[in-house]
Amino acid sequence: MFIATESIPSSFRGFTLIMPAVSVGNVGQLATDLIISTLGMPRVGYIHTDCLIPMAGNDPYPTCADDAAELSTNAEVYCLPDVKLAVLQIRAPFVQRKSRKFRKLILSWIKSSGFDRTVVLSSSHAYQRDDQQLLGAPLRYLLSPVLEQEAGTQLNTLEWKEIEQVSAFPGINDSDKRLYIPGGGITKGLYTDGCSEGIKMAVLLIFCSEGDNIPDAFALVNYLNDWLHLVDKPSQMSTQWRVPGSWRLLFGSGIPPAIF
């Protein structure tokens, strides 16, 4: 499933993997774009699978004319060996009924590659928030038990909020709680499977609605940066993230002058 390009790092052992869940507003994917684009991460491989709808285009992060001719596929892995960081970008929706298979494949790849920890960037429907969630920052996190031991204290220091569990049967039995991430795509499934397989996994998500989700992507990636310090943040100023060329015309072409 993972097919390397010619230049491959010797292994991903001990690396941090960041990946998006295809979720409401595509916020995880937009945030992932910002990370790859800002850090100038080279591509090291593809996730070649029948679980994703095929798509192709030219390099979404061109820095010069030569790059612009590099073909990009629907799921690619980028890497910066110096900082032990790998990023998986997913650019297409899942083929119907194949999301579970994809979860299994990704977790198997994570384990066999020896990633130290995995961070899933995701989002959830803002309209499903309860009264408590309407207050404060719309950002939430989840840690798998193995990672909780390592990173739990650090996230508490950052004053992050863990995602609240909801009643399985509201109004009838409020003690029976479960994890609920509406609009999160494979987030819940990936997290649950990751926990049962003992994988160090963190989920960072933001409550949002469909629309112009670029501000949500910036919020999520700044959230991540506060923890992982991927990009320097000058004091009193916001972090400078590089918007990729592929974000042009997100809402369609310009207005044709012929209509006036």
């Binding site: 507003g25 095929p54 073909l71 629907n74 999160g184 499934g189 015309l249 072409s253 310009g254």
Partner: protein
């Protein structure tokens, strides 16, 4: 998700909003059996004529030796090949891809059909394989199509050219393109080194469907490939759109003879198919 338009017709639309995974655990045995039967029916099968089957059986690598594979996706791309290349009798059908889905309920391998996926080869120059694909291939069958077809062809020495139709409405640009329509744009894999006959596909435009599946397979498996996508504001086959593909054949001209003028009978037949059966204005 479906929505009703003002006139009451129901359309299926894609939403960016994402639902949680479907849980298969609640399916009973009968449902699972029906589901696996449908999955089996939806499998993509490549069928070859007996001559090609023999070649595959006797080849050491179990693959056809091809220098070039040309895949035409869509009525104008396929029509271009029919009118300018395949009308010559030197080409004969040698195989097909049989596909069953909700929009393609016809069964069985038909070597020639109005809506199908057929392979052609020249007897005297069997190293070039042409595939015309005019049938609908569902999203879950695209990857399979590419894997199944490429498993029959040896990768070594192979070059792939894809011709694909696309609506002008899909082209994102700040400029008005209707005056220049139809036009070509190209995508190429990392190993493709030949000259490209048109501008590269600009950001943020992408390619989907069978063309994307083929070119992605080539990129991942390091096969030199080029995709020429024709953007047109005409949704039915038309000779002007077909002509836009001519520059795409510049690199293939030594191997594939392109007729200077399209075969008029073939063209008439292709364009007549899209004539409206009745028109309330005439």
């Amino acid at each position: 998700m479906q929505m009703a338009t003002f006139f009451g017709e129901v359309l299926s639309v894609y939403s960016r909003a994402v639902e949680e995974d479907e849980e298969d655990d609640h399916e009973n045995e009968e449902d699972q059996q029906i589901r696996s039967e449908i999955e089996e029916k939806r499998k993509v099968h490549v069928e070859w004529c007996s001559e090609v089957k023999n070649e595959l059986a006797t080849s050491a690598e179990k693959g056809l030796h091809c220098s070039d594979l040309v895949v035409a996706v869509g009525p104008n791309a396929a029509g271009f090949l029919s009118a300018y290349v395949l009308s010559s009798e030197i080409w004969s059908p040698v195989g097909s891809v049989s596909i069953w889905n909700e929009r393609n309920p016809g069964s069985g391998a038909m070597l020639q059909s109005e809506s199908s996926c057929v392979f052609y080869r020249q007897k005297d120059s069997p190293s070039v394989l042409i595939c015309q694909c005019t049938c609908y291939i569902a999203e879950d069958q695209l990857f399979q199509w590419a894997e199944s077809v490429f498993s029959c062809i040896e990768k070594r020495g192979l070059n792939v050219t894809v011709l694909s139709d696309c609506s002008l409405a899909e082209f994102k640009t700040t400029e008005s393109m209707s005056s220049t329509s139809p036009f070509l744009r190209a995508l190429k894999t990392g190993l493709y080194r030949s000259q490209i006959s048109c501008p590269l596909l600009e950001q943020p435009n992408i390619v989907t469907g069978l063309a994307a599946a083929v070119v992605s397979h080539c990129q991942v498996h390091q096969i030199p490939a080029v995709l020429y996508q024709s953007y047109s504001d005409v949704i039915t086959p038309d000779s002007v759109t077909m002509e836009t593909y001519k520059p795409a054949f510049l690199n293939l001209s030594r191997l594939i003879k392109l007729d200077a003028n399209p075969n008029a009978d073939v063209l008439k037949k292709l364009i007549r198919i899209s004539d409206p059966q009745s028109n309330m204005y005439t």
